[in-house]
């Protein structure tokens, strides 16, 4: 453990930063300084950042600092949900497709071929928009267009070992299929997919915020950074803080998650530069 820390100080630092972000999300009520992110006092609308309102207030007089802090919850939950969904769906379906081949493989791979030969964001916008604006629908839309990447990856990793002698030996000696899948296939698939998942958190966050910005994600009173930027757009000249702080929040969090993903990849996959 100690030598690991010595070898990878950067990784530990990023882990610590992520822990901080998670703590901010968890303890949002304590950090927001007694302000409710949903409660606005119209008399306080569009106030400049001050001691009372660290980041100023928005058009409805809501405390922007509280909203940015609570926005951490929305973004983290949504981005983690997307990554967990596509990770699970991709791993399970890809592993099954690679192991069994045949019709299962055909269907899954044709479907993912289709998704690859097509700009995913176009479909995600259409899905999220048509199903109605909500953060759940945005999560569903982005998951629906992103899981195929994981499935392809898992499939190709399974195919690499599917016909190795030790797998054949396991089958011949009577190992049950679920046993082979969990003890032989999964351990071979997981490391690469975990790294892919970790590096994708940042970009998923960006896509979710983008959907919310367009009005196809989080709905009005919800504190969400993309949505806050969209709401603040109209007050660009009179209240610039409305577009500076939520934007900075997205930027910072995405940078940290990207750095974390990159350093995790460096540790687990030394081949890559």
């Amino acid at each position: 453990m100690k030598s690991f820390a010595k070898k990878n100080p950067a990784f530990l630092l990023f882990c610590f930063c992520i822990l901080l972000i998670v703590l901010v999300a968890v303890f949002a009520p304590f950090l927001s300084g007694g302000h409710d992110p949903a409660e606005g006092i119209l008399a306080n609308a569009l106030q400049k950042p001050s001691g009372e309102h660290l980041f100023g207030t928005d058009k409805l007089g809501r405390d922007l600092f509280a909203r940015v802090i609570y926005g951490t919850r929305t973004s983290l939950t949504a981005a983690f949900s997307v990554v967990v969904i596509i990770f699970l769906a991709g791993t399970i379906l890809g592993t099954l497709a690679g192991y069994f081949g045949g019709a299962v493989d055909m269907v899954i791979m044709r479907f993912s071929d289709m998704m690859v030969s097509f700009p995913g964001m176009v479909l995600a916008i259409a899905i999220a928009g048509m199903l109605g604006a909500s953060i759940q629908n945005a999560v569903f839309a982005i998951s629906a267009v992103s899981w195929t990447k994981y499935a392809r990856l898992a499939r190709s990793l399974v195919l690499k070992i599917r016909h190795q002698d030790y797998v054949a030996a396991a089958i011949v000696t009577g190992s049950k299929t679920p046993y082979i899948l969990t003890k032989y296939m999964l351990p071979n698939v997981l490391p690469t997919l975990v790294v892919t998942g970790a590096t994708d958190i940042g970009s998923m966050m960006l896509e979710l915020a983008g959907l919310s910005f367009l009005g196809f994600g989080a709905k009005a009173p919800m504190p969400e950074w993309g949505l806050m930027l969209n709401e603040g757009r109209a007050y660009m000249s009179s209240a610039p803080w409305l577009m500076i702080f939520p934007g900075l929040a997205i930027f910072l969090v995405v940078v940290i998650f990207n750095l974390f993903g990159d350093s995790l990849r460096d540790i687990l996959d030394p081949r890559d530069e």
Binding site: F111, V122, G132, A209, L214, L229, G247, V255
Partner: protein, 312 residues
Amino acid sequence: MSFKQLGRRLVQIFAVLIGISFLTFLLTYLAPGDPVRTMYAATGVVPSEEVMQQTREEMGLDRPFFVQYADWLSRCLRGDFGTSYSLKKPVLELLGSRLWPTIKLSLLSVFLMLTVSIPFGMLAAVNKNKWIDGLVRGITFLGVSMPNFWVGLLLVSFFCVKLKWLPVVSADTTFRNMILPAVTLAFAMSAKYTRQVRTAVLEELNQDYVIGARARGIQEWKILWQNVFPNSLLPLITLLGLSIGSLLGGTAVAEVIFSYPGLGSLAVSAITSYDYPLVQGYVLWTALIYMVINLAVDISYNFIDPRIREKR
């Protein structure tokens, strides 16, 4: 690429389009919005439930899913994508009028991206692991993590609101109106592409012919521009095709911020007004354009890289 391969690709494109058409149709079928209600709402009168039911029957919206889909698909194949509910014009005409502005915007941003990425990517590759490489990589890292809509908003607030140099609303496709949306789009793309140029050039720099050329005393810049760069073009063109494709979906954000009259902003307003035919047309056409671009990229390899021509 032989004619046989080309034929196979065309069949594949057709198959994907059928798949996409099914997905989008399913999507509009499952969507909770009511197109008839929206249609009447757009005209300003909300009639009684009987009248709306009658309109639904006239439009065939009460028929079973597969009948509707087959009917819609056969009309699409004949080039009839229906009429927009909200704008009362043929979908094809609407898409057509918005296509060129989006293409122009995409081309300008790709051009901007290339003028930034190629020099900086090469600079970083040549000075690998020196401070300039670190700087370029650091900046590109930050660039990748910036949300593009935030970049757009910052550009507007600086150049349009503060300095008042450029218009806030890009209502037409003059250069003055296009430059900021194009920079917005080029920003994140340049960051990504610079890294890819660096990787591609680094890979070529490790080839034996570079050592050979150096041993013969050929100047470094000559090796770089006459040998290394042309050789690293192939992966870059693939990525260029992909990034033009992803622009098709990505322009929406920039177009909305700058009220630019392109496909993306049309699609966003179509979705918000539950304009099913327009959304379906948009998705299908972007899919088609994307695949045609990628096909064109693959065909271009034949001309760029003789090795591929030989292979077949």
